[in-house]
């Protein structure tokens, strides 16, 4: 009777461990497979310029996605990040072009606005106890309306004509443009900024006391409350951090394109959400995590880059994005089971 049992266990175990391996590293394998596929089919794919291009293109999404990751960690959700990106873009452009401000104010104003949006979100969600999705949906609309109203729907650019007949007094200064266009040691500055934020956020969330308490708050709010964790304070922090990173993303965006385009941030919401959710499944974490979020946005970036090379139109690329998101969600859902 022992004989069949012995022979049956290893094969069963092997199947199980293969599955486990897939769960754990499925997302990573997918990234490698995508890179390999494009590397073989596209000549220009494996070049330094292209990789630097991919990283540059995902730097803003990653910043936004890290903010979303924080809101997911406390079991919340922040839909307003896209509008916050737009708001920050307009705010920094306006500070430079319309008010002739130097770098300090230009960075400070959008970041403060981002924090203010976060505080507004947490006021609605934590204090007034509105459902997070609906509350941030409302702020998403309202903030988008604010930046449209402020600009009357026009983009802000160098030497733009003003209603009174003259031209705008200021311009995009080089120190500001360096954030999105400059390079340090041959690496785009925005990529360095992204890597710095990823590493700092990862260390913070994994190795520090407040990082731990963020996770515990999200995993079981009632148990956290009964353990003496000030859960409402941590939920507030999470939305503020989310707003801050969205604003940072908006600054990089304004600097990259060198104009303040209205509603330019809208597309970062869904890309950021997708990256954060894909991140759940990386290394089998099963929960929101910054490194996973980075890999999530790398996967999206590589895909979009390769598909563009293959002349897949941008509107069709959204189909691929959606499919990837579904796959990642399914993977992390199975992991939980």
């Amino acid at each position: 009777m022992a004989q069949p049992a012995v022979s049956a266990t290893p094969s069963k175990k092997a199947v199980l461990s293969t599955l486990e391996f897939l769960y754990k590293h499925g997302t990573l394998l997918a990234i490698l497979a995508v890179i390999a596929y494009f590397g073989i089919t596209q000549d220009q794919f494996f070049t330094y310029e292209n990789f630097s291009d991919i990283l540059r293109s995902i730097s803003i999404v990653t910043l936004v996605a890290i903010g979303i990751t924080f809101s997911l960690i406390v079991d919340g959700f922040d839909l307003s990040v896209g509008s916050t990106v737009s708001l920050a873009t307009i705010a920094s452009a306006a500070a430079l072009v319309l008010y002739r401000q130097e770098i300090f104010v230009t960075l400070l104003v959008p970041l403060l606005l981002g924090i203010a949006v976060g505080l507004l979100n947490s006021l609605l969600i934590v204090k007034f106890k509105l459902p997070d999705l609906l509350a941030t949906l409302a702020t998403m609309y309202a903030i988008n309306g604010v930046q449209l109203t402020y600009t009357k729907g026009f983009s802000i650019y160098n030497d733009m004509p003003l209603p009174d007949g003259g031209t705008a007094p200021g311009k995009f200064i080089p120190s500001f443009l360096f954030i999105g266009q400059g390079e340090l040691f041959g690496i785009p500055f925005s990529v360095l900024l992204m890597l710095f934020v990823v590493i700092a956020a990862h260390l913070f969330l994994t190795y520090t006391k407040p990082g731990r308490l963020f996770y515990l708050t999200g995993e079981n709010r009632e148990a956290a409350r009964l353990s003496g964790i000030p859960v409402n304070r941590y939920r507030t922090y999470a939305y503020v951090i989310s707003g801050f990173f969205a604003a940072l993303g908006g600054i990089v965006l304004a600097s990259r394109i060198g104009t303040g385009q209205v509603s330019a941030g809208a597309s970062f919401l869904m890309d950021g959400v997708a990256a954060a959710y894909i991140g759940f499944s990386v290394f089998g974490a099963g929960k929101p995590n910054v490194i996973g979020t980075l890999f999530g946005s790398i996967l999206m970036g590589v895909l979009l880059n390769g598909l563009t090379m293959m002349n897949v139109p941008y509107y069709a690329q959204d189909i691929i994005k959606g499919a990837i998101l579904v796959g990642a969600l399914a993977l992390s859902h199975w992991q939980k089971k």
Partner: protein, 511 residues
């Protein structure tokens, strides 16, 4: 019901039980938890099948294989949790008609006016004078209960099972319910009345059946049995008091709380405990123990005044209460006490992170050391701090929940039903942890409906009934029967009953 037998696995739950209800009478079914009441009623309601025995209704033998069949035969069940039987977002008349709608053969087109008229008549029958268009969500608990009763009546039930109908009702509402029961009795409806509130049972019941360990101990007229006799029948022969080690505790009051408001019952509670004292709060399920425990750590909305070691506080969140030295080991440990996907280590060190970290940076080495120490001293199995707590057994999970408070500033420990769902062995471990804590000078409040365990662990016991603490009695002078008697509504100050002579009342009595 004749010679009903039922066993779950090897455990015989019902042993040849005979039970009958006549039209127009209230037959109370009594027994301690686990006596077999629920099983018997579930058999009658068609939810489970008996192993042996017959059911006869008005002379015709029946065998129910589903609750639907029981309903068609005229058996109605008013469950204890009435909210589970209603659709809160729908008006009353639609709730009443829901069963009929579910019937496929029902005519698809109905007249709303007729339906409302029909519903109003039903409501009138149960003594409710509220419009049938009112949403169930907006009804009081009492009204909801009567709506369920009306729904049961609408299916032509002739025998109605009432499961703990007064558990959440006020005195006035109970009186009204009893008036309606009387009315329906006149119309020939037979009631099976299950309750732990023995005084009310005496008031309403015509006959009594007392079950103990799956056997009928007593069956007969309700009036011929005193409250004391009922309790004795329910609990069995008096047990010799287990030789309990006398514990000593400090004389100074370490913890006191005054005017703590319990939102659910709108009552206020005063409570105190000495240093090193294990104070039990005994009460039936639904007496408000969990509400009190959660109010004491300000997890529920409450008001009042706290005193710890002579210092006065008012708390508005658990954060403040815990900072002052209170802690709660909650009843629902998986839902309220644990971070299930996290490791034993993470769960154990939640309260220690400040000590284990420097500049907010957690020292992994120190953390593992602290967790290892707790795992060893608590005897958590498997003895590895990296296991996810969701893989642990109930007893070991409970040790983790307790363990997170052990090396902290917590001075007053509130245990809410700490032995729920854990095995005998783990129970003893939990008891010994509690005793050790008290010996170290911590103060323990132990909320439970397991009366034997309360007597085993506690030095002093509060009697809690309907959101009020009625008395503070030394455990050594209490017997199990007395505890059951008091918690079931027996008067502590009343005329000297059979238990009275052994009771020395001490401490403060609140009313």
């Amino acid at each position: 019901m004749k010679a009903i037998e039922k066993a779950f696995g090897t455990v015989r739950v019902l042993n040849g039980v005979n039970f009958d209800v006549r039209p127009g009478e209230v037959h109370a079914l009594l027994g301690m938890n686990g006596a077999g009441k629920s099983t018997l009623m579930n058999i009658l309601a068609g939810a489970i099948l008996p192993d042996a025995g017959t059911i006869t209704i008005d002379g015709t033998p029946c065998a129910f294989s589903s609750p639907r069949e029981a309903k068609q035969a005229g058996i109605g069940l008013v469950v204890q949790e009435v909210d589970t039987a209603l659709f809160p977002g729908l008006p009353i008349y639609e709730n009443l008609a829901a069963d009929e709608l579910a019937d496929v053969k029902h005519h698809p087109i109905r007249s709303l006016r007729e339906e409302k008229k029909w519903a109003a008549a039903l409501l009138h029958r149960v003594g409710l004078s509220i419009p049938p268009t009112k949403l169930v969500r907006d009804c009081s608990l009492h009204e909801k209960q009567l709506i369920v009763l009306a729904k049961v009546l609408s299916s032509n039930a002739r025998y109605i099972i009432l499961d703990e109908p007064t558990a959440a009702l006020s005195e006035a509402e109970t009186k009204r319910l009893f008036a309606i029961i009387h009315e329906l009795k006149q119309q020939g409806v037979g009631f099976i009345y299950i309750s732990h509130k023995l005084k009310e049972v005496q008031e309403i019941a015509d006959r009594l059946t007392i079950l103990r360990d799956g056997r009928i101990i007593y069956q007969g007229a309700a009036g011929s049995l005193s409250l004391e006799d009922i309790v004795l029948h329910m609990t069995g022969t008096k047990q010799a008091a287990t030789a309990k080690q006398a514990r000593t505790y400090g004389s100074e009051i370490a913890f006191a709380a005054r005017g703590i408001k319990i939102d659910k019952t709108s009552t206020t509670v005063d409570i105190y405990a000495h240093r090193g004292e294990i104070v039990g709060i005994a009460g039936l399920v639904g007496a408000g123990k969990t509400e009190l425990a959660e109010s004491l750590v300000a997890h529920r909305k409450t008001s009042g005044e706290w005193q710890l070691d002579g210092q006065h506080y008012t708390f508005s969140s658990p954060y403040e209460a815990i900072a002052a030295g209170l802690c709660l080991i909650p009843e629902e440990r998986r839902k309220q006490g644990l971070f299930l996907p996290e490791s034993v280590q993470t769960n154990l060190t939640v309260r220690l992170l400040s000590w284990l970290s420097r500049w907010q940076w957690i020292s992994r080495m120190k953390e593992t050391d602290a967790a290892n120490g707790l795992v060893r001293s608590l005897g958590i199995h498997p003895p590895s701090p990296s296991t996810a707590v969701r893989h642990l057994s109930g007893g070991n999970q409970q040790k983790v929940v307790i363990g997170k408070w052990l090396n902290t500033n917590a001075r007053v420990f509130l245990f809410d039903e700490p032995t729920k769902g854990i095995d005998v062995h783990a129970k003893q471990d939990v008891f010994s942890i509690i005793r050790t804590l008290a010996d170290e000078g911590k103060t323990v409040l132990y909320f439970s409906s397991e009366f034997r365990e309360l007597l085993e662990v506690c030095d002093t016991i509060y009697i809690m009934v309907d959101g009020r603490l009625l008395a503070r009695l030394p455990a050594a002078e209490l017997t199990y029967e007395q505890l059951v008697y008091y918690c079931s509504g027996g008067e502590i100050d009343g005329p000297a009953g059979r238990f009275r002579d052994t009771v020395e009342k001490s401490g403060v009595v609140y009313s």
